[in-house]
């Protein structure tokens, strides 16, 4: 049996807004094994962003247990959460989130700097990553000199640069046309074939279909993908 890389038990998240409190997640149980390609499918307002933030250690659950790579994530300092993110999570965002004044190379280099990698190793690693996503000839281009698909590939190179435990993608094709979106999905498949664990959050069932496993989220509750026609 494959290694459980992510385990959630009874995760809840309650936001306190003055007097009122709203519960966004109602006791999520979720297990992800190493090498899985999981899609979390749900409409907006379903709580999928909150779930993503908790998976990505940008936020901590109100209640329940979350183990990432064997480590329990609870109320921790911003500093240690940052260190966990640096080591375990590679983020891919809908709007790419590249620094506009930095070249593709520098954007990919950023998480490696935060991970304290040495200059010479960084150089090598960045080149390797950009070559992997097919942008070896565009390393010193700025984001505005690249197409949307190319920008997202820079973002993917950045996400995998530190060799994180989980690739966490939030609507990775949301800002792309169908063709480039499909190319990005191909890249995801290739990365998954290498053994990378991918968790993709999306509202698009077609995109979710690329994943090897789908869970649905609705009103803060999660269900496995067999209930596809629900």
């Amino acid at each position: 049996m494959a290694e459980e890389i992510l385990t959630m038990r009874g995760i809840t998240k309650v936001y306190q807004l003055g007097e009122e409190s709203s519960q966004v997640l109602n006791g999520i149980d979720l297990t992800v094994e190493r090498g899985e390609f999981l899609a979390v499918l749900g409409p907006s307002g379903s709580g999928k962003s909150t779930l993503m933030n908790i998976i990505g250690c940008l936020d901590v659950p109100t209640d329940g247990e979350y183990f990432l790579h064997g480590r329990k994530i609870a109320e921790e300092s911003q500093k240690s959460l940052a260190q966990i993110r640096s080591k375990e999570i590679g983020f891919i965002f809908q709007s790419f989130q590249l620094l506009q004044r930095q070249t593709a190379f520098e954007n990919v280099e950023l998480p490696l700097i935060y991970a304290n990698m040495k200059e010479r190793d960084r150089q090598e690693r960045v080149k390797e990553m950009l070559t992997k996503v097919g942008l070896a000839d565009k390393m010193y281009h700025f984001p505005n000199q690249l197409s949307g698909g190319q920008q997202q590939r820079v973002a993917i190179a950045r996400a995998i640069a530190t060799n994180p435990t989980i690739l966490l993608a939030d609507e990775p094709t949301g800002a792309l046309d169908q063709k480039t979106g499909a190319q990005v999905m191909e890249l995801f498949h290739a990365l998954n074939d290498e053994g990378r664990t991918i968790i993709m959050i999306t509202h698009d069932a077609k995109i979710a279909a690329h994943a090897s496993r789908i869970v649905r989220i609705l009103d803060g509750n999660i269900s496995e993908g067999e209930l596809e026609d629900a």
């Binding site: 260190q83 998480p111 991970a115």
Partner: protein
């Protein structure tokens, strides 16, 4: 853990940001530029002027006390007996009366009105030995009242003698023929500039002759010479005691001018001036610092999303703080460097206008740069802290 990469990267980022917002950055830096420039310029100008004045004073100041005697109803001045008593005071090397004579001077049948004539004792000539250009100085054997010899200064040589440096010629002073035995370079001390109005130069004769001509047996102004080992303030007290004896403790009978203590007072004043002007100028720095803080706060709120992204990519809060702090320090130090350059240029122009020598004050430069670093850190701290405290989720979501 110290990481040079993050510092270098932050430095690069801050240059990019300054370049991307040229006008805004320049206006922000302007406050620091003006502040540092005014600190540097004021300190340098005060220092140059005071160096200049001190130089002038020290020509005469070192080793001399000047006693001016007003006298009393009973006793109009110091007799030669009194002078001998002053010579016995501990530390005194010699006493020279400084007597001026208002008279006309005739040379080769022409009369000159603008020549200053003064009488001095041997010690004066010994102490000014290095000023002798031609001939000899006056000595003890000239101080008998019977010796009609004189020395003249360079200006006298140039204007009255028309550049002739031949010795042995005679000039007529108050009815007596004096032989010129020496030519001195001009007395450049501040004191002589106050005392002699001689537009046609100066003639110095034995003080005894002045006493004879004036038909007085006392002097009203003496210079006291003392060695380097003597503390001028102690000597001043000892002389006071002796003079009090001479004048029977009469009030206001005399006054002592101590150049050394005058110079000390001047340097205290100069220090106070520097501190005060520097203090006023640093108000400009304070205003500049507030400008930097304002710009950094704007920058943090503009780049909220970037901060969120950096945090998602694993940046620890401290690193975010460091990055913004470096940006504010780069901004203020850049302004500081420009301010130092501008301040020195102002000081150069000012010292040219005031006719003083411009002297580069390394302390002022260091002070200016130190100030700008401090301003960058102090006023960048709060914005940087605010950036590092941002919640990454909110930051990423912001548009």
């Amino acid at each position: 853990m110290p990481n040079f990469g993050i510092v270098a990267q932050s430095f690069k980022m801050s240059l990019q940001n300054i370049k991307a917002n040229k006008m805004r950055s320049f206006l922000t830096m302007l406050g620091i530029i003006i502040g540092v420039a005014s600190v540097i310029a004021l300190i340098t100008i005060v220092q140059s002027v005071s160096d200049y004045v001190m130089n002038q004073f020290s020509d005469l100041g070192a080793g001399t006390l000047t006693v001016s005697v007003n006298g009393t109803a009973m006793k109009a001045g110091l007799t030669s007996g009194d002078l001998k008593r002053l010579e016995t005071v501990d530390g005194v090397e010699g006493v020279s009366p400084s007597m001026s004579l208002s008279t006309l001077v005739a040379y080769e049948d022409e009369v000159y009105e603008e020549v200053s004539v003064s009488g001095r004792a041997t010690i004066y000539f010994e102490k000014n030995a290095e000023r002798l250009l031609y001939g000899r100085m006056l000595s003890d054997r000239d101080m008998t009242g019977e010796s009609y010899v004189c020395v003249v200064d360079q200006k006298f040589m140039e204007t009255v003698m028309r550049g002739d440096t031949v010795l042995g010629n005679h000039i007529r002073i108050a009815g007596y023929e004096y032989e010129i035995v020496g030519i001195l370079s001009e007395d450049e001390s501040m004191m002589s500039a106050f005392m002699s109005g001689g537009g046609d130069g100066a003639v110095i004769i034995p003080y005894t002759n002045v006493m004879d001509v004036s038909m007085v047996n006392y002097v009203n102004s003496v210079e006291i010479y003392y060695g380097t080992a003597t503390e001028s303030s102690i000597l001043e007290d000892d002389l006071s005691a002796e003079l009090d004896n001479i004048f029977n403790n009469a009030e206001h009978a005399y006054s002592i001018l101590n150049m050394e203590s005058l110079m000390e007072a001047m340097s205290t004043i100069e220090g106070m001036m520097s501190t005060m002007l520097g203090g006023i100028a640093s108000i400009a720095l304070l205003v500049g610092g507030i400008g930097i803080m304002n710009m950094m706060l704007v920058s943090v709120s503009e780049r909220t999303k970037e901060i969120g992204l950096r945090k998602a990519l694993g940046a620890e809060p401290l690193r975010i703080q460091l990055q913004f702090l470096i940006e504010s320090v780069v901004l203020s130090v850049f302004g500081g460097i420009l301010g130092v350059i501008l301040g020195l240029l102002i000081a150069m122009v000012a010292s040219a206008a005031l006719d003083t020598t411009f002297s580069l004050q390394p302390n002022a430069v260091l002070l200016g740069l130190g100030f700008s670093i401090a301003v960058g850190v102090i006023f960048g701290w709060m914005p940087a802290k605010r950036a590092s405290d941002l919640n990454p989720i909110d930051a990423l979501r912001s548009e």
